[in-house]
């Protein structure tokens, strides 16, 4: 039953995603992609629980690796997107 409920969430999220992103103008497609990089770093949530948990040494080490790489995505992605968006000005 959990799987079905998760599928529902997935279905709704995909529709929202399509609706919203279709409205992003071509001018902003590069920041959209780097921003998407940052959001895909959401994996950090799962990695944190595995890194700090007690599912065995291998899972902990992999979790720590996951946290490290996901953090690069989150921090790097948001900062570089912000840097780019700051350049888009109207005169």
């Amino acid at each position: 039953m959990i799987a079905i409920y998760l599928l529902f969430i997935l279905m709704l999220a995909i529709f929202v995603g399509f609706e919203l992103i279709q409205k992003v103008p071509a001018t902003l497609h590069t920041p959209l992609m780097s921003g998407a990089n940052a959001i895909s770093g959401i994996t950090i949530l799962a990695a944190l629980v595995l890194a700090g948990g007690e599912s065995g040494e291998a899972a902990t080490v992999l979790g720590i690796i996951g946290v490290f790489f996901a953090t690069i995505n989150v921090v790097g992605g948001y900062l570089v997107t912000d840097r780019m968006l700051a350049m888009f000005k109207k005169k």
Partner: protein, 454 residues
């Protein structure tokens, strides 16, 4: 209140902020705010996750978050705007790697039920393919690997075989979820698929590949969300997946090709062109170009990857100001696949301080093309090739292009007479109203700017 419930309530709020952040990204004036909102959502989600009672030790978490942040801050400050395609490609790969690591951790941490084992192995495969594929794409973009399609005999069959074997071992893992051997085999095979799929794709098709891998990095997070039953991973991953798919679709349409064609065209023989474009090339010096520009009322600038290579955007902006002071209208016409990633040209011009309302899309400039006194093509080739419109049998026939040749005068700034990435001759260079200005784009533009100053 139960911590788990509290965490999930905050996740709902975070999901709402992600969605609203994306909505604000729909306009350049609010986009920066939207990105900040999204970052706040991420921060809140991370903090609340740390309350999870399953987390017993924080030492390594702190170390990896701090070191990951340091790397993130460093690359985001250091990267040049011309290097954005490479950076996004690396970020795609890193995202895939993180999701793959999480999937493997779930697989080795405990013996999974059939359902969870299936979705975990899917997350692992998508993550690993994204990682190795992105590294190859990065290699091609930074020219560490040849930008030309790398093909060998029976490559298509080898790829199908590779995919079949991967599916087989994945199935075996699901049947025997305690087997480490099968996990290792699936990892190796998935990494190989990523390499094999991207190698045969040429440099000009990179906008499609980056968009597709961007989508995969989200889908990997989404699949990991299913494996660990985390609904925020599913929502955020799906948003990224949708974004990448939309961009992939826009890129394919802009080249009049299907995704399958882009992914497999490296295998096919290049169609030889019987049509030979004949005519006279009419070069013009920067001095003479200045006189035409001085008299022009409306000017369209069409940038391409060559502008990025020559770093000519700042010189162009300087020229734009001089032309505007001369009471001329200057706008930019940007083709969706100009550059190496979606929106590449826009970022470069924004960096040079060009106002974003002057950056027009192809469909906005084409209807009024006849009214432009001069169209200046800087380092673009295939995206302004009239063969796409008038030469049936040309490999790019049918591709939507910016109809620069319909402007009153066309200046093409180009290094030499080589053909574009598609390897197609460009009849634009031979048109009566076209003048070629040979040389480095930045030098040529600076020359014209100097004429204005005199």
């Amino acid at each position: 209140m139960d911590t788990t419930i509290f965490i999930n309530i905050v996740y709902v709020i975070a999901a709402a902020l992600f969605i609203y952040g994306l909505k604000l990204l729909g306009h350049p004036a609010t986009a920066r705010q939207g990105n900040k909102l999204s970052a706040i959502a991420m921060l809140v989600a991370i903090i609340v996750t740390l309350l999870d009672q399953n987390i017993v030790s924080y030492n390594w978490i702190i170390i990896s978050v701090l070191s990951g942040s340091a790397v993130g801050v460093y690359v985001s400050k250091k990267v040049e705007m011309t290097g954005m395609p490479e950076l996004v490609s690396l970020f795609n790969g890193v995202g895939g790697l993180a999701s793959a690591a999480v999937a493997i951790a779930a697989m080795v941490g405990s013996e999974l039920t059939t359902g969870l084992a299936t979705i975990s192995v899917i997350a692992l495969i998508i993550g690993a393919v994204t990682f190795s594929g992105s590294l190859v794409a990065w290699g091609k973009l930074s020219e560490r690997i040849s930008g030309k399609p790398i093909v060998f005999k029976s490559q298509a069959i080898a790829n199908y075989g590779l995919i079949a074997v991967t599916v087989l071992f994945s199935a075996l893992y699901v049947i025997f979820p305690s087997s480490i051997t099968f996990i290792v085999l699936v990892i190796a095979l998935a990494l190989a698929i990523g390499v094999m799929v991207v190698l045969p794709i040429g440099g000009a098709d990179m906008p499609v590949v980056i968009s597709l891998l961007n989508s995969y990095s989200g889908l990997a997070a989404c699949a990991a969300g299913f494996a660990l039953e985390n609904n925020l991973l599913i929502v955020a991953g799906a948003l990224v997946g949708a974004s990448g798919i939309i961009l992939t679709n826009i890129m394919c349409k802009a080249m009049n090709r299907s995704l399958v064609n882009v992914l497999t065209s490296g295998f096919q023989e290049v169609v030889s062109m019987d049509i030979v474009v004949e005519g006279e090339i009419k070069p013009i010096s920067a001095d003479d170009a200045f006189y035409v520009l001085e008299a022009a009322q409306s000017i369209l600038v069409i940038p391409g990857y060559g502008m990025a290579v020559a770093q000519a955007q700042h010189a162009m902006k300087e020229l734009q100001e001089l032309l505007e002071n001369n009471d001329a209208e200057v706008v930019y016409g940007i083709h969706p696949v100009a550059g190496r990633m979606p929106g590449h040209m826009n970022v470069l011009l924004a960096e040079a301080d060009v106002s974003y309302d002057l950056l027009l899309e192809m469909d906005e400039v084409n209807p009024r093309m006849e009214n432009f006194d001069v169209a200046i093509v800087i380092g673009a080739n295939d995206v302004v090739n009239p063969a796409a419109r008038e030469l049936k049998g040309s490999p790019i026939y049918g591709m939507p292009v910016i109809n620069a040749d319909l402007a009153k005068n066309v200046f093409v700034i180009k290094r030499s007479m080589s053909s574009g990435f598609a390897g197609v001759d460009n009849p634009l260079f031979f048109k009566d109203n076209t003048r070629m200005i040979f040389g480095d784009a930045k030098e040529v533009l600076n020359n014209i700017v100097r004429q204005f100053a005199d």
